[in-house]
């Protein structure tokens, strides 16, 4: 068990308060991508950051923003390290993060909490067991998929059949 010092907790909060470069309504803490902060003395800090998608281009912007925020707080030497394990999941988005997504017009990812290492819930030979995606505008569960990939890899484009509005859905990962 690694203990977190009060300084580390404070710096973690600062790093976590950085807004996500692609979805600025969310902080990195709400997105669940800042894993840990390790302080060596008061001047040298290492931050563990995990990517949402392996190829997520935002990771470099996130790293720079974290470095900037910690420098502004007086930390001289900041290293942001990318960690893959455990793999990020949309289940890591906080309840507050989900609420903000919804408010922003993006249907939040459904909670999976699957047991077993690799959930196979997609595709023609597999069945989708998750509850329906609800329209973030009117709350209707009667929505259809328009495209599996929207403006970014993490979103799909759907349309509400009740209010007819198209909307983005943050896909489960």
């Amino acid at each position: 068990m690694v203990t977190t010092t009060p300084l580390e907790a404070e710096l973690l909060e600062i790093a976590g308060a950085v807004p996500d470069p692609e979805l600025p309504v969310l902080t990195l803490q709400e997105l669940g991508v800042v894993r840990a902060v390790h302080a060596h003395g008061t001047d040298t800090v290492e931050v563990e950051l995990t990517p949402t998608y392996t190829g997520c281009p935002a990771i470099e912007a996130m790293s720079l923003d974290i470095e900037r925020a910690l420098h502004a707080h007086g930390v001289r030497d900041v290293t942001v390290r990318t960690v893959l394990t455990p793999a990020w999941s949309t289940d890591d988005i906080s309840a507050e993060g989900r609420r903000k997504l919804q408010e922003f017009g993006i249907a939040p990812p459904r909670v999976q909490r699957t047991t077993g290492p690799v959930p196979l819930t997609l595709g023609t030979t597999r069945t989708l067991t998750a509850p329906p995606v609800q329209c973030p505008h009117c709350g209707s569960a009667d929505t259809e998929l328009l495209s599996r990939f929207s403006s970014t890899a993490c979103k799909a484009l759907r349309r509400c059949l009740a209010c007819r509005e198209p909307f983005d859905h943050f896909k489960e990962l």
């Binding site: 990517p51 998608y53 392996t54 190829g55 997520c56 281009p57 893959l84 394990t85 455990p86 793999a87 990020w88 999941s89 290492p117 690799v118 196979l120 997609l122 595709g123 023609t124 030979t125 328009l146 495209s147 599996r148 990939f149 929207s150 403006s151 970014t152 890899a153 484009l157 896909k171 990962l173």
Partner: protein, 244 residues
């Protein structure tokens, strides 16, 4: 980034094979930019290409400098499957290539994720991304196969044309601790089920002919790969050190 010397040589060889698969297919899919049949597909293929590029970067970083590996190697030093280097052809060809490869990659990564080996961290992450690639390919196969006469005929032709490149996926790769026979059986069952549902025939003919003399994993590539590589490496070789 320099090679991860804590990894043994066979692990690095395997990382090169998997990394080259992802890199080369990513580049092929990128060639659709500006040419995809509809805007949604343009975005979808670009997103799949980006996922693959991310995987390639992680894998190639296990071997050495990712830029050097991508841009300064000769054709014979690439270890990717011949399947992924096949030209895009029409949209049906691209979808058939996606169906064959993403089904393989999804099954393979699921197995690597469940094992404790050096590929588990990446595989655990990538398997969830690849699940969407596989779903995308399966849905398009159904739509084109069970579509118009024209789309069905094109999809049938594409599945048939790429069939001979599918055997190579199940050849043993040193450093990859997977049961090739079981992987092949699972792949065949899945692809057969999708083709059945799409009212497409399972192609006949050998799945091995193309690589009888050794293939992509041994550095032997098909004709169009050289041209693809020239295009991919041209900028970097002309402007060494330029960043993007």
């Amino acid at each position: 980034m320099t090679a991860d010397m804590t990894l043994d040589a066979t692990t690095r060889t395997a990382a090169l094979a998997l990394g080259d698969d992802a890199l080369v297919l990513s580049h092929r899919l990128g060639e659709w930019a500006g040419h995809a049949p509809v805007l949604e597909e343009e975005v979808a293929l670009a997103n799949i290409a980006l996922d693959l590029l991310g995987q390639a970067r992680v894998l190639l970083s296990m071997v050495g400098d990712e830029d050097e590996l991508a841009y300064l190697r000769e054709e014979r030093a690439f270890r990717n499957l011949q399947l992924v280097e096949q030209p895009n052809g029409d949209f049906a060809h691209t979808i058939a290539r996606q169906l064959y490869f993403s089904t393989y990659q999804h099954l393979l990564y699921a197995e690597l994720a469940a094992a404790e080996g050096p590929f588990a961290p990446l595989a655990a992450k990538a398997v969830k991304e690849v699940a969407y690639h596989r779903d995308h390919a399966e849905q398009w196969t159904l739509r084109l196969g069970d579509g118009t006469d024209e789309s069905r005929e094109r999809m049938r032709r594409a599945c048939g044309a790429l069939w001979r490149f599918t055997g190579e996926m199940f050849q043993p790769v040193a450093g990859l601790d997977v049961d090739g026979t079981a992987l092949e059986a699972a792949w065949l069952a899945s692809v057969t089920a999708v083709l059945d549902r799409a009212t497409l025939p399972v192609p006949e003919g050998p799945r091995t002919g193309a690589w009888a003399a050794g293939a992509g994993r041994q550095g032997l590539h098909t004709e169009s790969f050289g041209r693809m590589l020239a295009e991919m490496q041209h900028l970097h070789r002309s402007h060494p050190g330029a960043s993007w």
